[in-house]
């Protein structure tokens, strides 16, 4: 199992804070799987800029996700 987290506007758009999934593959493949969950999900992962962190470290789409990982998706950050 992996844990998938969503933050900020993305969490509100998807109306989902976290998911536990059976998944292994790249971030790109995970995004494609998530995009199949419905129109809102498809839009969110295709129309907007979505950043990803694996185990709380900023990551890239070609990186691999394995069992036990925490994967977070979120919009570009706006702190400071």
């Amino acid at each position: 199992m992996i844990r998938v987290l969503f933050f900020a506007r993305l969490r509100e758009t998807l109306d989902c804070q976290e998911l536990d999934l059976d998944f292994s593959g790249t971030v790109t493949e995970l995004k494609a799987d998530l995009a199949k969950r419905g129109e809102v999900w498809h839009q969110a992962f295709h129309a907007e800029e979505v950043l990803v962190a694996i185990n709380q470290v900023m990551s890239k789409n070609d990186e691999c996700v394995k069992a036990g990982d925490e994967v977070a998706f979120f919009p570009p950050v706006t702190g400071g």
């Binding site: 933050f7 900020a8 506007r9 470290v57 919009p75 950050v77 706006t78 702190g79 400071g80």
Partner: protein, 148 residues
């Protein structure tokens, strides 16, 4: 030695500055930056909610301070960022840097806030008279971080 905090409570920039100054006698320069919640008549903001990613935010701030220390010879550094509900005029973020001389302290302070703005997982949501909105990223913030 360094103070790196993410907190809901308000902070006093003067106290943080004094504490940082008394943490070292070996450094002749102390530069600080304080970011505040803005409310402009042309673009009124009633309040601001700051969301973060607990765990990752702390490690991102520690990483940014560590990067600054590989670039400049710095003394103690203080970095405090608030989360939760804030109102106009309140302080959001404090960056305090000590160094032997001013040039390094000015540069490192600017680097820290520039990097924090594009690399640390915080998100601002504003409440305005016409409703709530997530703050969009500014391309000028990305450009500021890319200078370094």
């Amino acid at each position: 030695m360094d103070t790196i905090l993410v907190q809901t409570q308000a902070f006093n920039a003067g106290e943080l500055t004094n504490r940082l100054a008394s943490a070292t006698t070996a450094h002749g320069a102390l530069v600080t930056f304080t970011g505040l919640v803005r409310d402009q008549t042309s673009d009124p903001v009633e309040s601001l909610f700051l969301e973060h990613y607990p765990g990752m935010t702390d490690s991102a701030l520690n990483d940014i301070v560590a990067q600054a220390k590989t670039r400049w010879p710095l003394g103690p550094v203080t970095l405090v960022h608030r989360v939760g509900l804030l109102y106009p005029g309140e302080s959001i973020v404090f960056v305090g840097v000590t160094s032997a001389h001013r040039a390094e302290a000015f540069q490192a302070c600017e680097f820290l806030i520039d990097y924090l703005k594009v690399k640390a997982p915080f998100w601002k949501k504003e409440t305005t008279p016409s409703g709530q909105r997530w703050v969009a990223t500014r391309s000028s913030d990305n450009a500021a971080a890319e200078r370094w």
